[in-house]
Symmetry: C2
Subunit: 348 residues, 2 copies
């Protein structure tokens, strides 16, 4: 199994209050570059920023890395519009960073990104792939894409309290700036992305389209952002089987609406619960409180964990967190999981 | 263990008759881009070229990939002057392709490549790394570097008959074009590389220097090209422990001179024999006949194979060769290894 990870940026993320992917707006554009270093090397290498929220919630890259250290899967990172250099190896598809959706054109090279992603996806010799993403602001641009397509527009958030109304206003402003009404881009997903999307969307969609055409099994590893990509693929007339693999944190927030969306776009849905409630560790507590929830292929990676190994993933996550400078809270509930953490894993 | 693989090009490779890395000169500049795709995906992906000699000898990338499929180690490819795009993810250190050593300046950014490599190497969180290379023409530029440093100048070849005299003439012309005599760059390895080296050399040397400074264990994975890099490091005053891991094919050709060179530059030497004489397969026959010999970290990768698993590597190599379009010769000596190939591996 190979996890492909398009990583990019959009200035939409800098709009106040829409993303938790980075402690401060001016540091947010470093987040995807740091994420892919964590995935490749186990910790940030050249990045001046470690994506940990003020509450001590690490980027989902930490979880995906922890799974990788337990399960071992291939990762290929695709530069889908990074603004900051990264020490991680990246595939260069010539995709440019995205601009603020309120500026009229959000992704000027949406068609080219899709086409290059398509050629790349079609060329892969793998039998099955997962495609994840890291793009701060990505749920807002997912809302934009869904709205422009005229689809039910609901998305998740990396914040415990989803600032959905704020996102809707941003999308409304973006559509207005493009002279569009909701639903105007039905059947034209690349036009929707160009107007109110982000550069990771056409890259993921293109890779998926090319890989599906070449007969690969494709799983979109993510939550509502991947629902938006699935919608884009269906609106482009691609009807090959498609799966979405996400975390229980997204599924818990979205309730039945996630399953409904997957049914609407004819996607198999796999939801994996990493059992973070079994541990009293600040990072896992924050996920259980609704922070971060998904990203960097986390849900897809978790779906690869064999029965009985999730406890090992939690162990590795503690080790990754230590590398990221996150220490477990003091005064932990020893009775609940002290044995797990100190005596080794015995169960799922 | 992580294998770092700086991949680059030098126009020196285009000089008639000095390299076997590519069937024809005009295709040679694709070789490193194809090599790193083979390492990442198991076969060429975007590359229009599959590096297999007219005799059916595959690039050493095929062997390194076969080892990776058996042992599983991390690979990070560094763009050290590629001229052709590659679908493999690469770390961008901004290194430019090298020019013909006979043109006076062979590597205009040798100092910058070393410095960026140094910063990258110093930032790695690994405990130990191997550094390989893929650069057609690299043994000629190794000869150039050693000659400019005033060191015993003998190098291996990817051809069964080493065109050493031709290489010496190229190096002599290169030194003359730079206004240098042999030994003029003693203690100034970056000046030597600038004059008659290639861009992979300062990248490997810089990464090694940074990693050694940060306390990592460093193995140079290669043959005489890595002897030249070791010489460069010693001439720069770096006296940390250093190892060289290469193949028995290089060791067999070089005889005691390889061990002498390693002693001269205070390097531990590890030589691994992949037992290709156990199989009657065209690819392994060609290596036994002295073709290719080493490259793309092959000797280092082979050194990672645990006792008893080399037979599995040969099995995997057959599978990789099939993907590269190489079929085993007909009329194979069934008695010798038919059992190995068809009944599974039982021994080293």
């Amino acid at each position: 199994m190979r996890l492909l990870l398009p990583a990019g940026t959009t200035e939409t993320a800098l709009i106040d209050g829409i993303s938790a992917a980075g402690a401060a707006p001016e540091l947010m554009e470093h987040t995807p570059s740091a994420d892919v270093e964590i995935l490749e090397y186990g910790e940030p290498v050249a990045s001046p920023v470690t994506p940990v929220s003020p509450n001590g919630c690490p980027t989902p890259a930490a979880v995906t890395r922890a799974v990788r250290e337990v399960v071992g899967f291939d990762v290929s990172v695709i530069d889908a519009g990074l603004t900051r250099s990264t020490a991680a190896p990246t595939v260069d598809l010539g995709v440019e960073p995205g601009t603020d959706v309120r500026e009229g054109v959000a992704v000027s090279d949406a068609n080219a990104a899709f086409d290059r992603g398509h050629d790349y996806g079609a060329s892969l010799p793998d039998d099955e792939i997962m495609i994840g993403e890291t793009v701060p602001g990505g749920t807002t641009t997912a809302l934009g894409l869904l709205t422009a397509l005229g689809e039910p527009a609901e998305v998740s958030s990396s914040l415990p309290e989803n600032p959905l109304e704020r996102k809707r206003r941003v999308v409304d402003d973006g559509l207005a700036a493009s002279g569009l009404e909701p639903g105007d881009c039905e059947g034209e997903p690349l036009a929707a992305i160009e107007a109110v999307g982000d550069p990771v969307q056409p890259t993921v969609a293109g890779i998926a389209a090319g890989a599906l055409e070449a007969g690969l099994e494709v799983t979109l590893a993510g939550g509502t952002q991947m629902v938006a990509v699935a919608a884009a693929l269906r609106h482009r007339g691609i009807d090959a089987p498609l799966s979405i693999a996400t975390t229980s944190f997204v599924a818990d927030e979205r309730g039945d609406r996630l399953a409904d969306a997957c049914e609407r776009f004819d996607c198999e849905l796999a939801v994996t619960d990493p059992g973070f409630d079994e541990r009293d560790h600040v990072a896992m507590n924050r996920y259980c409180a609704g922070e971060a929830k998904e990203g960097v292929g986390m849900g897809g990676a978790l779906s690869l964990v064999p029965d009985g190994r999730m406890c090992d993933v939690r162990d590795r996550l503690e080790a990754v967190c230590t590398r990221l400078g996150i220490e477990a809270e003091e005064g932990i509930d020893d009775e609940r999981d002290g044995a797990d953490a100190t005596e080794g894993c015995r169960g799922p």
